[in-house]
Amino acid sequence: MRSITLSQAVNEAIAEEMRRDPTVIILGEDVAEAGTPFKVLSGLVEEFGTDRVIDTPISEPGFTGIAVGAAMTGLRPIVDLMFGDFLYLVMDQLCNQAAKTHYMSGGKLTVPMVLRTNLGATRRSAAQHSQSLHALVAHIPGLKVAMPSSAYEAKGLMKTAIRDNNPVVIFEDKLMYQDKAPVPEEEFLIPFGEAKVHQAGDDITLIATSSMVQVAQAAARLLAAQNISAEVIDPRTIAPLDCSTLIESVKKTSRAIVIDEGHQQYGVTAEIASVIAHDAFYYLDAPVHRMGAMDVPVPFSPVLEDLTVPTPDRVVEQAKKLMRGVREHVA
């Protein structure tokens, strides 16, 4: 099978859906000729024209609101939000408008829109261009949240998101745009709410999202060398969350570490850990361990920034403690 980059996968997914459905449009800052600062959308304006690939002013709430109205009246807009950090700017339009319209109208109005944005630290971009804010939106009923962990997931989840009749927020890891993975040439979609077991194992379950899946996979390789068999599971969407796959895995392994790049406090790791603690409690041999981003604004200095996110070595260290039955709180 051919391999393509995550960037190409997103581009292909959007291009295919735009060919299939003339109501799909993209709007955002520098999405047309510039193809976004990450060059993810290069070539789309040449094929689909400026009526469907629309450069907007630097007005995130404005163009997100326009997308909500366009979605309510017959289009399927994709909003390009250049950095996940800008989510704070669009919260009213996303959470008060898009997320609630279907419910508040008793099911009469729908908002089939996609907001694609990114997450991920260690790009040396400091506190306002490095955040992973998916937990904020996953908290809001009415929003779906997808977190692709490779080019394959990026393509399949994006196509599903565009066809979904609800607002969907997709977080791409901005450090993975050039990472290649095998992606079939023939069409495929990845259903929401279906976790993927990347690697089966018996001793411990590593549940990881987005950028942290490769961290978990690297940790699993290191653990294998020490005769610890780790199962790596990627929820792929955190709203909806495939609870049963996670629970079944932990019932088998009796230990779990949840790894996510959002802040640890009140975050995705907390939600998933509580699901496991509730539904697999009597199968656990150790407390569920959470590893999120450190609860500090992301610092600029590389030596400091690297301390804030989970790494394979730290996952291994924690896994070994859980295996030995050592209970220790480590942020």
């Binding site: 404005g62 109205g69 807009p77 419910y103 109208s105 089939p112 009415g142 779906k144 609800n166």
Partner: protein, 323 residues
């Protein structure tokens, strides 16, 4: 007088009377403690909603505000489903899930009231973008109050609407108060100039004169269909009640004399009635009959809504997501 003009006058008159009557009954429901929550009365501003919506087709859209009952009636909604919604009943426009501040009636082009001040500016502009991209000739009117002039979203979308020549009309109902504060204490400069800064043609109109509002809107709708939009209308009007139904003691922010002046001298319904009679568009008797008939309809709708069923409890988690 041409019969089609007489028909239009009677239609607009009846719509204004319907709004006034709807609000009278809604206020009574509040005072009688029969309505959950509270509501924001549109009484006094009827000529704005009716003058504008009468110039629209059913396929044209509006977005509305927390003070939205008038827009909803003017765009063609029925009393029964509206009162049911106000009371949280299953037969309400939103199955009781939206309430007074969120009534949406998309069959008549009402994309919904919005409880965030200025919150629907993006939605209205997005509806206009849809019309442009799909090549329909639909026009969208975005209703908002003078208070929304303080929201940045409005200027972001006005900028894009102007850049992209979208068929949207921004209708600012200047009722002189944002909640409990005078507009001039909150808005620097001229309201009209806020649109003009983006190259948007802006107009001031007497919002108590339904014919003036209607004439201007007809022109702007026609020009919008030809791609000459967007436009801004600033409509001078007045809300008779407080910010909401519970805002009874208002003398700390506006005088009783001021309220009496607007009610006695500038009432949009009374003045239009006098105009119609003077121009021989209608007789006093005819108009009295309309008022009586509308009152009966409203009372019957209230009775119906009071007796109607609440939604089944298992609907609490339906409609979170669309299929």
């Amino acid at each position: 007088m041409a019969s089609n003009q007489r028909e239009q006058w009677l239609r607009m008159y009846e719509q204004m009377v319907k709004i006034r009557q709807f609000e009278f009954q809604a206020n009574q429901l509040y005072l009688d403690a029969k309505m959950p929550g509270l509501t924001h009365m549109y009484s006094g501003q009827e000529a704005v909603a009716v003058g504008i919506c009468d110039a629209l087709e059913k396929t044209d859209s509006i977005t509305s505000t927390h003070r939205g009952h008038g827009h909803c009636v003017a765009k063609g909604a029925e009393f029964k489903a509206m009162f049911c919604e106000l009371l949280g009943k299953a037969e309400g426009y939103c199955r009781g899930k939206g309430g007074s501040m969120h009534i949406a009636d998309q069959d008549n082009g009402n994309l919904g009231a919005n409880a965030i001040v200025g919150g629907s500016a993006g939605i209205a502009t997005g509806a206009a973008l849809t019309a442009k991209i799909l090549g329909t000739d639909s026009v969208t009117v975005c209703f908002f109050g003078d208070g929304a002039m303080g929201q940045g979203l409005l200027y972001e979308v006005m900028n894009m609407a102007a850049l992209w020549h979208l068929p949207v009309i921004y209708a600012c109902e200047n009722n002189h108060y944002g909640e409990y504060t005078k507009t001039e204490e909150m808005a620097a400069g001229e309201l009209k100039a806020r649109g003009e800064a983006f190259g948007i043609e802006a107009f001031e109109v007497d919002g108590q004169n339904v014919l003036a509002v209607n004439n201007l809107t007809q022109t702007l709708v026609e020009r919008s269909r030809k791609g000459e939009g967007p436009f801004l209308m600033v409509l001078d009007t007045y809300r008779y009640h407080g910010h909401h139904v519970g805002d009874i003691n208002r003398t700390y922010y506006r005088s009783k004399e001021e309220e009496a002046h607007w009610r006695d001298e500038r009432d949009p319904i009374d003045n239009f009635e006098a105009h119609m009679i003077a121009k021989k568009g209608a007789t006093k008797k005819e108009l009295k009959e309309i008022r009586a008939r509308v009152e009966q309809e409203a009372k019957a709708a209230v009775e119906y809504a009071l007796q109607a069923d609440y939604p089944p409890l298992d609907e609490v988690d339906s409609h979170v997501f669309a299929a």
